[in-house]
């Protein structure tokens, strides 16, 4: 008799957990109490032991997914028992846990049809959460039986919870194809209790993973187009009263807007963005697809290549860039110093924390805030790198106003985060995402693109080792961020033995103005910057 393995409740007030890692795979033999998977919750991270001995038949919830307590995450069967069909898509996925958002080129894309479950569709009906502190409900009575036709919002079943007894309406119209929870059973909130429509096969059909496309590869070009719509196939669209009002007042179709909020909810910003785009498929704030680069370029729209032999006039931005670049090279004698930094510690930290971090803080955890914080720490110690030449004197700038170079479809812009030294890690992370996003949406204020004292520029996303960037006048230095890659590195242990290890490394190139900064200054700055990253010890929040 197969045993269901469920997401445990690790504390009285806990309602969900994130499955961070499977320690076994389908087909493996497990002993009772042997560690089976790892979870992360608000209060604690833990290894969860197997409730039974046997063979792990099926994994139902993937790594990174967040599910309600008591959700079945796996099935263990008799030793040597037949494995169930290929693991189904996760239930109740909180998409923030998964891959980065797809960058969205503005008008062109329409959302692909809402993803249907492998078994051929159908809407999951779940145990609803009737109050903030409610974690489970008892299904007291089915008002329909399998095979009955149901209308949308027609009462489907009755439940009883701590706080209230209620009739639950059907989320969709169709035929009730499967009842998964019997009368009298008590299950956790969000547990699938029935299926409407679809082929009615026993495989768990997950609701369309909302909002975030899982596609984005770590390298350059972001996946095209907005993610699937916020609605589960045929289900309610998650939004809010405010969003519905905005939609109603402006004739927006919520079904066409991607949600970037929790569980794919359409937020106020999503609605307002959709409004600005003319109500078509929304371009949610495109966070970087490359982990290292919020400055990743949005995929250039497919404009026709210039005619061979044609003479194309310069755009305003292109002529300004041309002028500034020449000027900068003329004013500052550029020297570049290149350092290789072992990023393994940070890569591991990020892998471990990224899904929780995003859930907890609502912002993606990329490499940029790590790099920015290290730069701020080094700039504090070596003020000359944050200084500017003013006539015959050197201005030691009071604040560190960090410029973040952002590649745009139509050129390049460097928004500035003022007083970056006042912000903690999370504050820096948010600020970077915010300015990059507003840069792409042309929402920067004039004082946000001036006043910078040091600039970060990321050219590594295209696969380069390192670049040699041009200084952003009137600053005295610029830090080029190279591509993150794995290399065989010689490491010396405490006893002095050398070994070769595979490590994540990244090259950083400091371009500096030799009128103001000498090689020794630059070397010391970069040495501290490197040490800060290699020995990362800051709380990321």
């Amino acid at each position: 008799m197969p045993t269901d393995v469920v997401m445990p409740q690790m504390g009285e007030s806990i309602t969900e957990g994130t499955l961070t890692k499977w320690l076994k795979k389908p087909g493996d033999t497990v002993s009772r109490d042997e560690p089976l998977f790892e979870i992360s919750t608000d209060k604690v991270d833990a290894e969860i032991p197997s409730p039974a001995a046997g063979t792990l038949l099926e994994i139902k919830v993937q790594e990174g997914a967040t599910v309600g307590i008591n959700t079945v995450v796996a099935v263990i069967g008799e030793a040597g028992g037949a494995a169930a069909p290929a693991p189904a898509a996760p239930k109740q996925e909180t998409p923030k846990a998964e891959a980065p958002k797809a960058a969205a080129p503005a008008p062109a894309a329409t959302p692909p049809p809402a993803a249907s479950a492998p078994s051929g569709g159908g809407t999951d009906v779940v145990m609803p959460q009737m109050g903030e502190s409610i974690t489970e409900g008892t299904l007291t009575k089915w008002l329909k039986k399998v095979g009955d036709t149901v209308q949308r919002d027609e009462p489907l079943f009755e439940i009883s919870t701590d706080k209230v007894d209620a009739e639950i309406p059907s989320p969709a119209a169709g035929t009730l194809t499967a009842i998964k929870v019997q009368e009298g059973a008590t299950v956790g909130i969000n547990t699938v209790v029935a299926v409407i429509g679809g082929s009615g096969s026993a495989a768990a059909s997950a609701p369309a993973p909302a909002a975030k496309a899982a596609a984005a590869a770590p390298a350059a070009t972001p996946a095209p187009s907005a993610a699937p719509v916020a609605a589960a196939a045929g289900g309610r669209i998650k939004s809010s009263p405010l969003v519905r009002k905005i939609a109603k007042d402006n004739n927006l179709d919520l079904g066409k807007i991607s949600g970037t909020g929790a569980s794919g909810r359409i937020t106020k910003d999503d609605a307002l963005n959709a409004l600005n785009q003319g109500g078509k498929s929304a371009a949610p704030a495109a966070a970087a697809t490359s982990a290292a680069a919020p400055a990743a370029s949005v995929a250039k729209p497919t404009s026709p290549a210039p005619e061979p032999g044609s003479l194309v006039p310069l755009t305003k931005m292109r002529s300004i860039i041309a002028q500034r670049m020449v000027e900068s090279k003329r004013i500052s004698p550029h020297v570049h110093t290149i350092f290789k930094v072992d990023m393994t510690r940070i890569v591991r930290l990020r892998e471990k924390e990224k899904s929780k971090y995003e859930q907890r803080n609502g912002v993606k955890l990329t490499y940029m805030p790590f790099i920015a914080r290290a730069a701020v720490a080094a700039l504090r110690k070596h003020a000359i790198v944050n200084a500017s030449m003013e006539g015959d004197a050197i201005r030691y700038n009071r604040n560190i106003n960090l410029g973040i170079a952002v590649a745009l479809e139509w050129g390049l812009i460097v928004p500035v985060i003022k007083q970056t030294e006042e912000r903690n890690f999370l504050g820096v992370a948010r600020a970077i995402v915010d300015v990059a996003d507003r840069a792409r949406n042309k929402k920067l204020a004039p004082d946000e693109i001036s006043g910078g004292t040091f600039t970060l520029t990321n050219s590594g996303i295209f696969g380069e080792q390192f670049g040699m960037p041009i200084i952003n006048q009137p600053q005295s230095a610029i830090l080029g961020i190279g591509g993150l890659s794995k290399e065989a590195v010689v490491m010396t242990d405490k006893e002095g033995n050398d070994t070769i290890a595979i490590r994540s490394v990244q090259y950083f190139s400091l371009g500096f103005d030799h009128r103001v900064i000498d090689g020794a200054d630059a070397g010391k700055f970069m040495s501290d910057f490197k040490a800060y990253l290699e020995n990362w010890a800051e709380d990321i929040g």
Partner: protein, 324 residues
Amino acid sequence: MAVVTYLEAIRQGLWEEMERDPAVFVMGEDVGVYGGAFKVTEGFINRFGPERVVDTPISEMAIASAAYGASLTGMRPVGEFQFMDFITSAHSQIVQILAKSNWRWGAPAPMVLRGPTGGGVSGGPFHSQNNEMAYVHTPGLKVICPATARDAKGLIKSAVRDNNPVLFFEHKYLYRRIKEELPEEEYTIPIGKARVHRQGKHVSVITYAATVYVAQEAAELLAKEGIEVEILDLRTLLPLDRDAIRETVEKTNRVIVLHEDTKTGGIAGEIAAIINEEAFDFLDAPIVRVTSLDSAVPFSPPLEKAFMPQVEDVVRAARRLVAY
């Protein structure tokens, strides 16, 4: 004017009103010769005499009743309850007689009942409660809970001048811990008007009394993460400033209601209902309540801390709301 404590501000307000109007007098346990258990009326008996600074027996019911009687004859009494926890001894008088006097008999009862309320000082269950909601629930009364020295002085003066029975809850944790520079010139603060304590744009925290400072500390931490918190200090609980509540919801679309009172029956539930009725379309996230637990107030310091809302609770709630 010098920088004064919240307690001193109340003392000044009372003194000024007694100077201004001979009908105003104070009564309560130890208010006269002793100068008040917390020294709010220190020096009063020397200045105003024992007929206007009356030491009473230990009976809150008697204090409330006698003050009511005096108010019917044209006096404007200010009764003190040594701890507002003891207001329960006067509950019948307050609810049945004071609150209904004008409604039933056309007889206004211009009086104030004031005293220290709230916890955070290891006062134990009988000296740390927040009892205001029983009276917010009673039409005919006014209920005031100031958070700053400036508001405490301005509001006690307005309370004395108001022709209704006013309950004035002074938070004992704030008595000597907060100080403010007060205006030189005379001023009053209107009853029934909230005050924006901090401007913000991402989340509103609606609160009053000591938790205004919990919200402030949380706001400072959250500012480092780029979350700008707006804090609305209600100041008066009855009548509630519904316009101010609506305005802040319209501005930020995300609300935390924070109070030291226990959760069930605390004003957060009432405010959540009001927002639902009057500003539903402006909500981009559910309303969150951060309050004390439904329990008697513990004496033990770590238990009391676990019982009362802490800065981290507000910070976490704000982060969750912003990520919703």
